[in-house]
């Protein structure tokens, strides 16, 4: 079992990493008119850029880890019990992996021009 302090260090690090990467992500909106930057075609063009796809993948991973661990913490504070806590921990872990897998699939497909 991972120690809680290790989990929380990951939690804080993913928060800081997410903020830094999301700032870059938002700054990309200003490379053109904000409204145009959110048009479907323009969003797809972003994915064709490899560094930007990597940035989006990293944001997806960091926010998923941070978000689902945050959800785990909230649920552990709401209720206690060995079975409940095990269920919450593994459910959050499974949901995190599922979301990262699905999001990565989308990023990969978009960057390969399959959408």
């Amino acid at each position: 079992m991972i120690r809680e302090s290790t989990i929380m260090k990951i939690h804080y690090a993913t928060a800081l990493g997410s903020v830094a990467l999301v700032v870059i992500h938002i700054l990309f909106r200003f490379t053109q008119n904000f409204h145009d930057s959110l048009k479907f075609e323009n969003v797809l063009i972003n994915y064709s850029l490899l560094p930007y796809s990597i940035l989006l993948e990293l944001i997806l991973i960091l926010i998923s880890i941070h978000g689902f661990n945050g959800l785990r913490i909230i649920l552990l504070e709401l209720n206690q019990g060995k079975n409940y806590e095990t269920l919450v921990t593994y459910s959050c872990l499974a949901s995190m992996i599922a979301l990262i897998t699905y999001g990565s699939r989308t990023i990969l497909m978009a960057s390969m021009g399959m959408i």
Binding site: R3, E4, S5, M8, K9, Y12, L76
Partner: protein, 260 residues
């Protein structure tokens, strides 16, 4: 009872104080017996008080003259024993340390401390708090002792700067007000609570102690130090100025590697 002899020239002033009309106030006290009641009921008592009276004085007046069934815990009457913690007008406070005059209200609502099981009326069960306190080993851990097998004894000397590091946190009287104010304690029944965590910090920073790793391992738990959200309400209600929120953040520094 000791008699105080008032000097003749002061007698008028003394009479003025004694004869001064007393203030009246309404006390609304929570009554709940878990063996009988399904919900808390509030009983109103009209009380006369002098400007020096505390909430504990008023509650004892109620108990002695109006309602002998009122259950409350108290002892020293000078904020030293930590027995008379309760919610006074919505805020956790010691009844003996709260003057009625200073509340600035015509109604004083008295309830038992939150986040504790109620034994009866205003008396709550401290078992969980003391269990958490004991779990964090609130004593000096050392491999050696002041008392050796021979007749000689030795001292573990501390300089004033070493004492400074923990003395504020050693003022805890275990009244439970911090635990009562803690929002995490309200939902997480397994959380150690600000009282126990602060005492862990108190012993951790003691230069005589060698139990740092033992205590850090205990608090590094799913329901340990990481569940503190730094709301700071524990420090706000502490009657001894212990500042548990600060102690917990310092303690967290050890686990994050900011402190040695």
């Amino acid at each position: 009872m000791a008699a105080i002899k008032i000097p003749a020239n002061n007698r008028n002033i003394a009479n003025e104080i004694v004869d001064r009309p007393k203030n009246k106030i309404l006390f609304r006290v929570a009554k709940f017996n878990p063996r009988v009641d399904t919900h808390t009921k509030y009983v109103d008592y009209d009380i006369e008080y002098d400007h020096w009276n505390t909430v504990l004085d008023a509650l004892l007046t109620i108990k002695h003259n109006l309602d002998p069934s009122l259950a409350l815990r108290y002892s020293c009457r000078q904020a030293a024993c930590g027995s008379c913690g309760m919610i006074i007008n919505g805020k956790p406070a010691l009844a003996c340390f709260t003057k009625i005059n200073e509340l600035g209200s015509d109604l004083v609502k008295i309830e038992p401390m939150s986040n504790f099981p109620i034994l009866r009326d205003l008396a709550v069960d401290f078992t969980q708090m003391f269990d958490a306190h004991k779990k964090l080993k609130p004593y000096i851990i050392r491999s050696d002792s002041e008392i050796s097998s021979s007749d000689e004894t030795k001292e573990f000397i501390q300089d004033p700067s070493s004492v400074e590091k923990y003395i504020q946190f050693a003022n805890c009287i275990k009244c439970g007000l911090c635990n009562s104010a803690c929002p995490t304690m309200a939902t997480d029944s397994l959380f150690f609570g600000p009282q126990a965590l602060t005492q862990a910090y108190r012993y951790l920073t003691d230069s005589r102690d060698q139990g740092k790793n033992t205590r850090l391992k205990i608090i590094d738990d799913r329901h340990g130090i990481w569940r503190c959200h730094f709301a700071g309400s524990c420090s706000k209600v502490c009657p001894k100025g212990v500042d548990p929120a600060m102690g917990i953040q310092f303690l967290r520094g050890y686990l994050l590697g900011f402190r040695d």
